[in-house]
Homo-oligomer: 100 residues x 2
Amino acid sequence: MKEFLEDINKAFESKVRLGIMSMLMVNNEVDFNTFKEMLGLTDGNLASHLKTLEGLGYIEVKKEFIERKPRTTYSRTCEGEQAFKEHLQALEAFIKQATD
Amino acid sequence: MKEFLEDINKAFESKVRLGIMSMLMVNNEVDFNTFKEMLGLTDGNLASHLKTLEGLGYIEVKKEFIERKPRTTYSRTCEGEQAFKEHLQALEAFIKQATD
């Protein structure tokens, strides 16, 4: 049992963070409001999960001004991509043994 | 995205609880020390996760004396079994769309 759980990354236990990383695997850049809409979250909740992933070095933040309006976009890092892929593989292996 | 995440049960986000429920799907009864060994946890950490699952009605606790020694065993409830199966299905669907 332990060996199946060891590779499940605690950073991605939260389904919000699963959602954030998924969106960043498919899109090179996602802005704050798109996350908010797609995941159905409040600003505070979303910001806190994004900060955690940024702190772990799994995502990068870019702040810019477009037509004088601030815009914050996020992208995955190489490390984040690798960690997320490993997490999905660990989940798959776990489900396989749980449902076999 | 939202629809894939909605069916992921927050109660099972934690990998410790994934492990507990998995063990209770395969075995009708598991005692405290077996969980501890199989999952590699401290008493406090394990007890807290078991209490959460009990509070949700997903597992049941039985306390008894065997040769004058106290023994605490746990089993899944019907509700817990159903909820866990739905969670695994939701995780599977999520992984499928994330890796397709």
